[in-house]
Amino acid sequence: METIAFYSYKGGVGRSLLVANAACFLGAVGKRVVALDLDFEAPGLHYKLGLPPDPAGKAGMSGGAVPYLLATAKSARNPPPLQEHMVELPMSQRRGGWLRLMPAGPAPRREYWSALKQLRERLHLDAPSGKGLAALLDLHGRIQDELKPDYLLIDARTGVTELGGLATTALADCVVCLLVANRESVDGTLAIVEALKASRRPRGRRAPRIVPVIARATGDLAGEGRTAEGIKRLLELGEGRNVDRKGGPAPFVLPHDSEMGATDIVVAGEHTPNTFPPLHRAYAELYEHVFPQAWKKGQKLLLCLPMITYWRWI
């Protein structure tokens, strides 16, 4: 299992939407995928994947990472079945892939915030006993051992939080860092990436790959000055795409797409490669880099689009 955490120092960069699209892409090309929402304070991956909770609270999704961890905090020796806290999303059976979502929980229903409040009181990730952190690592290990996915995609919390820090330092093999090309976002992301590179790890565990991605780009990226210098430094610490004719790598760029921003539509297979909107083409370029093994299949898939199921869940 390869764990990929999607992180952003600032919010509003399209992080959850990228997680949802990447998960759908991987499922469509025959990979086994778990998408895990660890953005407990503002969870939204279930919306992006077309699973908003039933407002009446009488049906639909009720489980998720928060209720699961709360149950574990109450009784670690008797954790609930993972299946009770996951939702399987429809995928084409032909390629053998699947996509399971572990949402944070049924947010924004009241029961979710109640569970989150209890979790904060009971589960301390920095407890010296190690039990709080062990509960999170246990969930990660259990997903790996019981479900055996090819990929675990984590929607990590924005900003500087314990859970966001652990998702990137303790769980991830690769961190996709989204930022916008302004000085605030670049400086903050740079501080995080430098800390990530320097952070101590358990023995035998490699530092994660870091892939900076400039999101919501509207034109000339960074101009000159501190922002451009910061992006250059990010590329020295992380991975870019090798297309710069001057010799250096260039950052991955997700162009601003007002339609996507407004509707949060997950699309996989609506367009042929030549007619993909710019944002989807940019996604595809990023997938090729982050999921190279899936990409070989994905490339063929994109060339055979009429055969692909078209999803429009929202």
Binding site: R77, L133, L166, P202
Partner: protein, 138 residues
């Protein structure tokens, strides 16, 4: 400070920590930490070859566990087992305490234990506590 004074202090501290534990008060761990530190002071002035020194070393480690601070317990065990002339039985006892504690964490979180050593889990938790998320204040 004299050994007599330290003995009197540690006896009172143990009694207090036990009572707080029995009542289930949240201050019990800090009371056990006081016990651990007093036992550590006694251990500093009594050699491990003497019975009193052995009791103090075991007591310092056990109380650190009861204070929910296995990181401190491990540090004490590493320090005491590195002492010259430490009796083999004491060394085994101290290491046994560490193993029992690791086994408990592994039993409780088997999937975490399969992929991470208990000591590494505590090292990460400790790092998070001391250096903050991402290790930003390291």
């Amino acid at each position: 400070m004299s050994i007599e004074t330290l003995n009197a202090l540690v006896s009172g501290a143990i009694w207090r920590a036990e009572q707080l534990d029995e009542l289930g008060l949240e201050t019990a761990p800090s009371a056990w930490m006081e016990v651990s530190k007093l036992e550590e002071e006694i251990a500093k002035i009594t050699p491990a070859k003497e019975a009193e020194g052995r009791i103090a070393r075991r007591g310092a480690v056990r109380a650190a566990f009861q204070a929910n601070d296995p990181v401190r317990a491990r540090e004490l065990v590493e320090r005491y087992t590195a002492e010259k002339g430490i009796p083999k039985s004491l060394r085994n006892d101290l290491r046994g305490m560490l193993k029992a504690d690791s086994d408990e964490l592994s039993d409780e979180f088997p999937f975490a234990a399969k992929h991470n050593k208990p000591n590494d889990v505590r090292m990460l938790a400790n790092q998070l506590r001391e250096c903050g998320p991402f290790g930003l204040v390291a």
